[in-house]
Amino acid sequence: MGLPLLSLIVFTPVAGAAVLMFLRSDDAVRWTALAVSILDLALCIAMLASFDTTTHEMQFTERRLWVPALGITYALGIDGISALFVFLTALLGSICVLASWVAIDLKVKAFMVSLLSMQALMLGVFCALDLFLFYVFWEAMLIPMYLIIGVWGGEGRVYAAFKFFLYTLAGSLLFLIGVIVLYFNGGETFDILALTAQDLPFPVQSWLFFAFLIAFAVKVPMVPVHTWLPDAHVQAPTAGSIILAGVLLKMGAYGFLRFSLPMLPEASVYYSTLMLSLSALAIVYGGLLALAQDDLKKLVAYSSISHMGFVTLGIFALNLRGLEGGILQMFNHGVTTGALFLFVGLIYERTHTRSIAEYGGLMKAAPVYTAFLALFTLSSMALPGTNSFIGELLVLSGGFAANLAVGAAAVLGALLGAAYLLGMYRKVALGPASVGARFKICDVNAREMAAILPLAVLVLWLGLYPKPFLGIIDVSVKHLLAQVHDKGSGP
């Protein structure tokens, strides 16, 4: 195909943002942003339709010299792992536009421009095949995200935006040093595939592993460096939370998959126990914190820490089930938690409170809302028939195979998940009506439905028939695993 499909996917939102600059009315801005994001989604679906699931090779590759003097190229390409996240990003992009339709009524144009630039940069991260290009996309995301949280966020938005910015910046800068060290140790190239083929000495791998770990752990976020997340989530507008939970947190895990595992296989194997323990800690600690929350958004935010623990646990189990489960959970978490943040946003728009204690009996006032909320709550709990069940099962079985104690901790985390999620649902939806009495609350409208339905379909589709999704990642994951175990058989 002569068409640079990936460049189109990445730069369509940029072009859309440029068009928005010239529009005057807020409604025109909203409709254009929606059209652009749907067009982008359509491009992604077209890409998936012609995606070859039988090869682990990078597909739709594009390569142009960018800074020849330093061996930097503009290189894009995707394999099964990135394909899944390109799709997720584009899907959540459209949903974010819908979710901010009425929630954002100040500086709509600037918001939509930020949102679309954010989408372009995230897509760029998943498509980049050059480390320098990857870093540019990765780091540039800070600008729109900082503005989204800081300008359109809640009361404590400025503090939250600062914290988000500085945490990620400090982490990423060490990653940058790691990238440069890798450049000089890997034959002066930024080409990700060429670097993957290198065999670095263990001490170098070891140092790089920790340089990368800091950057990725901040994004995931793993437990000691997770404190920016609840602040950012709680203060961000709904669309910001969806982006954060749906895509941004995936970037860290994606970094492990794309860089740490294939480029530093020995170090990854050597430090896998450490990573498993940190993941187990995140699962249990995040679950306990979620259990103690009264703020609905905080609860979902802390549950994210727990769920992302499952992802890293699956990844560093370093076996097929663990890896596939981890990747699937990344996708599931994007869908489910994205949806949960959307639901928090919907109810906040109506009641202007996020305190769980003030809700209750929503079932009567908003039956459709609560029905879908039930679906996503169950999905977050990983009930059979929903998407997360498949992923969590794979992660747990991979985790047990890797380390019994860690597996046991993960099961405990899953139990905690059931506890806080069921508790949340009971207090919000069931029981005597309180909100319905004090606030005027109406059920979801057609626009909101349009945002919810695709996610609900994905939840059930993945839960009942996960094969197409596993099929996309399968070959790439097997290849990745072979890379790790071929080269990474211990120092």
Partner: protein
């Protein structure tokens, strides 16, 4: 000196001659300019610089040594001269309206800037400690006067006085170092020094001389421990002059540092350790003190200290890539810093000074375009991609890691994370606060053009750094005297 040699020398220094002659003519013509005709001065000054630039371009084909080893016109000098031209022309364009408002639009203002420019050009080309001294003094004497140009303001007078006294001391220190070198080696030529130093590695007297010369030069770029003058002088000087000083003379200082220290001394001693320590301390001090500044000009002063520190890391790295990284850094820094100063300058209107950071609260609401530009410059200064500032830092880090200084690179990036905080704080004030006043910036076409140009540079070099990188590397490699490694 034969007539032919004299002609060759004059030819090599033609750009300098053009600027100095032009400045002298303008000094006379300036007396005849009537009130309301001041724009003539701007265009005449710009024309002089453009003619000099044209001469530089025409002569840039080959290396031309001149004045019996005092002076050379090589690619290295050409690169720096173009940075100076850029800084000077943009300063002229920014000055017009500001000079009207402040009532400093007399011809001396432009003439002094032109003389300062010629001083910087001599510094970039000088290959002898004495010609360096001549260029240096020509430059700083003009900036002393320009700093005190707001005659009615106490702050400006005080800044000028402080600058003169401290500058004189640092010049004295520099001259003492030069005299030591002359006493010990019998020469002040850089090449001769190189030979003398490599002959006898660690003469303690020479080491002392090095330290004195370092001290004199470090003062000019505003690095620790000779940074004390920077915030006061930057704050007190007219903002246009602050903008000029933060890029032009600083680049000139680095031109000399690169020529002096990467030539004779790297081979001879571990002088890079001194420079590394200076770089770390400079960045640390600049970043942490900037965190608590309320005055925009003071903050930018500390920011310029931080950037001097970062560029010094490139000097530490040395080698062709290290030198090229410093050069590219200075070019990019000039663009983004003049951009941000441009905005500060155009804020000066009526009774509004635009010097307090809080003044900018809610700028995004009333002037979205200006706010967006400011956002661009600030993120570029903080080194966030895809802006040029990121590439500047990136290349310095590449040079550092290439030479094995990974720890220094880590320190450099951690300190830039601290520095990022105060740039982001300004973004916060602009975007996340409600406006407390109405803005009425002075936005004449010249200022608009300047801002457009610097913005295009800040984005353009960030997205397409290849050409500029090659230019910097090219300028280093053909300056064979620098290519020691």
């Amino acid at each position: 000196m034969t007539a032919a040699a004299l002609f060759q020398s004059a030819l090599a220094s033609l750009p300098e001659i053009v600027v100095i002659t032009g400045a002298c003519i303008l000094l006379i013509l300036g007396q005849l300019v009537r009130r309301g005709q001041e724009h003539f001065l701007v265009w005449a000054s710009v024309a002089i610089v453009l003619i000099a630039a044209l001469a530089t371009l025409i002569l840039s084909g080959e290396v031309r040594p001149a004045y019996t080893g005092m002076f050379v016109a090589d690619r290295f000098a050409v690169f720096f001269k173009f940075v100076f031209y850029l800084a000077t022309i943009l300063t002229f364009l920014l000055s017009r309206k500001y000079a009207d408002i402040e009532g400093i639009g007399s011809s001396e203002y432009y003439v002094l800037l032109l003389f300062a420019l010629s001083g910087m050009m001599i510094m970039a080309s000088a290959t002898d400690l004495l010609s360096i001294y001549v260029g240096l003094e020509l430059m700083v004497l003009c900036t002393y006067v320009l700093t005190g140009f707001l005659r009615r303001e106490r702050r400006s007078n005080e800044a000028a006085l402080k600058y003169v006294i401290l500058g004189a001391v640092s010049t004295g220190i520099f001259l003492y170092g030069v005299s030591l070198v002359y006493g010990l080696t019998g020469t002040t030529q850089l090449d001769g020094m190189a030979a003398a130093v490599t002959g006898d590695p660690l003469d303690p007297g020479l080491l002392l001389a090095e330290v004195f010369i370092v001290a004199g030069l470090v003062f000019k770029v505003g690095a620790v421990p000779f940074h004390m003058w920077v915030p006061d002088v930057y704050e007190g000087a007219p903002t246009t002059i602050t903008a000029f000083m933060s890029v032009g003379p600083k680049a000139a200082g680095f031109a000399v540092i690169l020529r002096v220290f990467l030539n004779p001394l790297v081979a001879a001693s571990d002088v890079w350790i001194i420079v590394a320590v200076i770089a770390v301390v400079t960045m640390a001090l600049g970043s942490f003190v900037a965190l608590v500044q309320d005055n925009f000009k003071r903050l930018l002063a500390y920011s310029s200290i931080v950037h001097a520190g970062f560029a010094l890391f490139g000097v530490v790295a040395g080698g062709a890539d290290g030198i090229a990284s410093v050069m590219l850094y200075l070019l990019i820094y000039s663009l983004m810093n003049l951009g941000i100063f441009g905005i500060v300058i155009l804020m000066r209107n009526g009774d509004f000074s635009g010097e307090v950071i809080e003044d900018y609260a809610g700028l995004a609401k009333s002037h979205p375009g200006l706010a967006l530009l400011m956002l661009l410059y600030l993120f570029s200064l903080a080194g966030i991609p895809p802006t040029a500032g990121f590439f500047a830092k990136f290349y310095v880090l590449v040079a550092l890691v290439e030479r094995g200084f990974v720890m220094l690179a880590v320190i450099a990036v951690l300190l830039s994370a601290v520095a990022a905080y105060f740039y982001i704080r300004i973004v916060m004030v602009i975007y996340m606060r409600e406006p407390e006043r109405t803005f009425d910036p002075a936005l004449p076409p010249l200022v608009r053009a300047t801002l457009a140009f610097t913005a295009a540079g800040t984005i353009g070099i960030g997205l397409f750094p290849a050409w500029f990188l090659r230019l910097a590397q090219h300028s280093v490699l053909t300056a064979d005297r620098l290519n020691l490694q």
